[in-house]
Amino acid sequence: MGARSELAATEARVFQAYWQDGVLDLLAGGSTLLIGLGWLAGFVLASVVVPPLAIVSWPILRQRITHPRLGRVRFNAHRRFRMRHGMIAVLSLGVLLFGFFALHFGVGHLPPFPRWLAPGIPALLLAALALSAAEALRLARFALYGIGFIAAALVVSGLDADPGWALAGGGAIAAANGARMLVAFLRDFPMLAAEMDK
């Protein structure tokens, strides 16, 4: 392996390390779990209330939990470009899918989908988001979450169950993995006192 590819591998390792705290997984999974439980309890408004709370909580948790243990880094321009465009693509896809979903449910018919798949559509939308996030952040575990949501969507569609079960199930998987990662992160990365800051 040449020096260039070794350095590229080092950069990739540093970037992976930045996401090993599990906070994103815990928040995204926990939010989806809460939304799913909200739907099951008849509180559909949870899908409007929970995501902004998670978005606001993320930087606060990163600052309180992650930064004192992992530190802060500004990635190189190429990585920042890829991250920024990847996240814009994920958010755009989310808005598009939500609009598509709302439009078709709003007018009461679903031409592009088989009708039996209707209960799984919310989980399929989240699967698309998880897969896009996996590509944008190069995190394989988000692809696994996406596959989990697809499986949950197929199960609730097959059983003609409430869509909330698929959201709660897929969200629980991501939240549980995030919690596991966070525990490992807290165990392996003690708070570091920056000698040069003194």
């Binding site: 040449g2 020096a3 350095l7 590229a8 080092t10 950069e11 540093v14 390390a17 930064h67 004192p68 243990r69 992992l70 530190g71 802060r72 880094v73 500004r74 990635f75 190189n76 321009a77 990365f189 570091l192 006192a193 920056a194 000698e195 040069m196 800051d197 003194k198």
Partner: protein, 109 residues
Amino acid sequence: MTIRATRVDAQAIASLDRTLHEPARLGVIACLYVVDEADFVFLQSQTGISGGNLSSHLKRLASEGCVTVRKEFDEGKPHTTLSLTADGRARFEAYLRTLHDMLGALKAE
């Protein structure tokens, strides 16, 4: 042949940048090379070097003009951010080239 190859290798080894060749400093430089900037805690968490040692290695690198140390206050607390200077990047690239050539010559033998 063997004598000449040994002499060539000795010259290559002698030309290696001694400042960067030290393992802890090499880890720090490699980490800073692949990012734009990082704070002290990030370098500590990524290299596994203790705070005191990292501090002394960074002071050495800064004194040789390889690293820029920026101190600022973040929410009332002091915060140190480090980045590689243009000279530091050039020295690291030259170090890698020398090492690569040296290893290439050894393989050719």
